[in-house]
Symmetry: C2
Subunit: 375 residues, 2 copies
C-alpha cells in the first residue's frame, strides 16, 4: 500500500480548542483561480487624512471631535453592537426552541497610532509597546466593570476583512455573557486540565498544578526540528506558529511558552517587551509574504475577565492561557484569497496547503519589512 504523505494525501486534523475538524487537501494548491480577486491594499496613504474619522482632531460619525492624541486613543464605538447596562429583561420564550437572552456591554475602538498610514508591522518598538500596554489597560478597566463577563480584543486589518478605515485600529467588545467561541475554548481547556489526554511532560502548568492544553501543545511544537515543524518565529518567551489544526491558509497562533500565563495582566515588563517584538516580527513576515499590507482578523483569548483587584483566583487562572489568533484570508498572492464558503459553511473547514507548508513559507520571509528593504 502507498505510504501516507501529509503533503499529498487529503486528511482531517482535529482542533482540540474548538472540537472541530479541518479537511486538509494539499494537492488543491495546483488549482487555477479564475474567480474574484481582491483590489490591492492602498499603498499611498497620507500621514493625515482630513476625511478620516480616526485621525487626531477630526470629527467622528457621531459628531464628537477626536483629541489631538499623540499615541493611542480609545473611545466608544459610535455604532456599538451592544449597549451599556441595564438591558431590559427579555420576555418569556414563545417556545423552548426560541430563547432570547438580554445582553449588554461596551464596544470600544482602540486606535493604535495617530498616523493614518501605519500598521502594526510599521510601528516602532516603543509604539508597539504602547499598544500592548493599552490592550492590558482596557482589558482591566472593562473587565472589572460590574456585569462584564468577557472582554474580546480584536483587529480587522484590510478591506477584505471588513475593515472600513485603514487608519490603524482595533476594537474591544465587552459583554455581559461569555460568547460562543471563547466559551467553547475555555470548556475544552478545562476538560483537558481535569483529564489530560497526553502523558504529563515537563511543560509549564497552571497555579494549581493542572496540565494546560496550550502549554503542552506548544511544548511539543518546540521539540520538533525547526525546519520540519510549524513554528514561524520565537523569542525568549513567545512562539508564533501555524497550528496543526489551522483553517486559514497562513493562520498563526501566538502564545507564551515558558510559563502558564492566564492574561495580559500577568505579563512582566520583559514579557511585554518580547511580546511587542514578536508581534512586530511576525506581522512583518506576513507583509513580506506577498509584498502587501497583509489582511487578517486577530483576536486575543485569555481569562474572560481579570480577577477583582487584589483577589487571587486560581481556578480561572488554571484554565486560561493567553493566546492570539491571526486569521488571514490570502492564499496565493496579494489579490487571491481563500474563500471559506459552501462546503466550509455547510460541512467543515477545508484548507489547500498544509500548515507545515505555510509555516515553511513564512519562515522563508525576511523580518525586514519589504518597504524598508534596500532595493
Amino acid at each position: 500500500a502507498e505510504q501516507f504523505d501529509p503533503a499529498t494525501h487529503p486528511h482531517r486534523r482535529f482542533n482540540p480548542l474548538t472540537g472541530e475538524h479541518v479537511l486538509v487537501s494539499p494537492h488543491r494548491t495546483k488549482r487555477p483561480w479564475l474567480g474574484q480577486t481582491e483590489p490591492p491594499q492602498p499603498t499611498d496613504l497620507p500621514t493625515y487624512d482630513p476625511a478620516c474619522y480616526l485621525c487626531p482632531g477630526n470629527a467622528r460619525a457621531g459628531g464628537e471631535r477626536n483629541p489631538a492624541y499623540a499615541q493611542t486613543m480609545v473611545f466608544t464605538n459610535d455604532f456599538a453592537a451592544v449597549l451599556p447596562p441595564p438591558a431590559p429583561t427579555a420576555p418569556p420564550a414563545p417556545h423552548p426552541l426560541l430563547t432570547t437572552r438580554p445582553v449588554d456591554g461596551q464596544c470600544d475602538v482602540l486606535v493604535f497610532h495617530p498616523r493614518h498610514d501605519v500598521t502594526l508591522p510599521r510601528l516602532a518598538h516603543a509604539d508597539m509597546l504602547t499598544v500592548v500596554a493599552e490592550w492590558a489597560r482596557v482589558y482591566a478597566a472593562r473587565g472589572r466593570q460590574p456585569g462584564v463577563a468577557h472582554v474580546q480584543i480584536f483587529e480587522n486589518k484590510g478591506a477584505m476583512m471588513g475593515c472600513s478605515n485603514p487608519h490603524p485600529h482595533g476594537q474591544v467588545w465587552s459583554l455581559s455573557e461569555v460568547p460562543t467561541i471563547p466559551a467553547t475554548e475555555l470548556a475544552n481547556l478545562a476538560r483537558y486540565a481535569a483529564a489530560p489526554t497526553a502523558a504529563p511532560s515537563d511543560a509549564p502548568r497552571g497555579p494549581k498544578g493542572c496540565p494546560c492544553l496550550l502549554c503542552e501543545y506548544v511544548h511539543f511544537e518546540r521539540s520538533v526540528p525547526a525546519n520540519e515543524g510549524r513554528i514561524v518565529v520565537q523569542n525568549e518567551h513567545w512562539v508564533a506558529l501555524v497550528p496543526w489544526w489551522a483553517t486559514w491558509p497562513f493562520e498563526i497562533l501566538l502564545l507564551p511558552y515558558h510559563r502558564h500565563i492566564p492574561s495580559l495582566l500577568h505579563l512582566t515588563d520583559k514579557e511585554n517587551d518580547s511580546f511587542a517584538r514578536i508581534l512586530s516580527a511576525m506581522t512583518k513576515r506576513y507583509d513580506n509574504l506577498f509584498q502587501c499590507s497583509f489582511a487578517y482578523s486577530m483576536g486575543i483569548h485569555q481569562r474572560p475577565v481579570p480577577a477583582p483587584d487584589g483577589v487571587q483566583d486560581d481556578d480561572d487562572d488554571d484554565v486560561a492561557h493567553l493566546h492570539l489568533h491571526f486569521f488571514p484570508p490570502l492564499l496565493r498572492s496579494a489579490t487571491v484569497r481563500k474563500f471559506l464558503v459552501g462546503f466550509e459553511l455547510m460541512a467543515e473547514a477545508q484548507r489547500d496547503l498544509t500548515p507545515e507548508q505555510a509555516a515553511q513559507r513564512l519562515r522563508a520571509c525576511s523580518e525586514v519589512h519589504y518597504l524598508d528593504a534596500p532595493a
Copy 2:
C-alpha cells in the same frame, strides 16, 4: 424599567441545531458603510461562452471535453478536495493533540443547465424539477458507494461567495467521515429526539414516534401570525423562513413541514414538485430584494447517506429531517455585504437586523423576477 423590544435592544439567540449563539444588534443597521463594496454581478452573460469549462462541448481544466448535454451534467471535480479510496493509513500521532485521520471520497460538480446565463431563479419549472431529481440521484449513487459516510450537496452562487464560474452549477462532496457541522446537527437532533425540551405538540414525528426538533420548530413557526413571523413563503409541503437564530442577514432555512422527511429519497412526486416551486419562489424573492443575482452558499442537510437499497433504517430516519440552508452575504444593497470577521470569527456570530425584519423585507418582494417584470 424599559420594555424589551427585539427590534431595538441587543440580545442573544440560541441556535439549537449547532448549539451556538448569535448576537443580534438591530440598531446597527443605521451604521454608515465606507468599507469595501462588491463588484455588481454580471448581467450580460452570453447563453454560450466558448471559454467556459462548463458549457456543452467545451474542454475542461483537466483536458476532458464536456458532452453536448441538454439538461444537467455531473462530473468529477478536476481539483477534488478528496480523492477516491483507498486513502493510505495515517501514521501514529506524534502527540495526542496532533491527530490525523485519513479521508477519502469523491467531489462531483453538478451543472444545473446547459445555458451559461441562467441561475436557479431563472429556470423553468421542468428544469428545476430535473435539478431536484439530479440531487436525489447523486445522493443515492454516491451515498451507497462503499465507504461513503456523508454526502454534502451545496452551491456557491456569485463571485463574492467564491464561485469562479457563473455557469449555473453546484457541487457534491462525498466523504468517508461525517464532517463537523452535519455531525453536530445530527447529534443535537438525536439529543432532542431522546429528550425533547418542548411539551409534545401535534407536529409530525419520526417513524419511531420520537419528536423531531425541526418538525417541532417549523410547526411553531406556522402558528405565528404571518405578518409578525419569520416565514417568507410556504406551499402545501414546504416552508422557507428566516430562522430565529439566523446569522447571515437574509439567511433562509427551507424545509418540509407536513411530515417528517429524512432525505431527498423520501420525497414523493408531489413533494418534489412543490420543492421545485418553492425553490423558484424563494430564489426569485432573493434576486428581487436588491435587483441583482443574489449571491449565497446553499447546503442540503439530511440523512448522511441513504439506507442500503431495500433496507428500512428507522434509527437514522428518526433523527434526520431534510432541510436546506441558504447563507447570503448581502446586507444593504447589491454591493454592500455583511462581513463575518473579527468579533464573529473570534467570539460569536453577530447580525445587524432581526430575523423578523429580514423576513418582512423578503415577504414584501414579488415572486415575478425583476428581469421579467413589466417596466
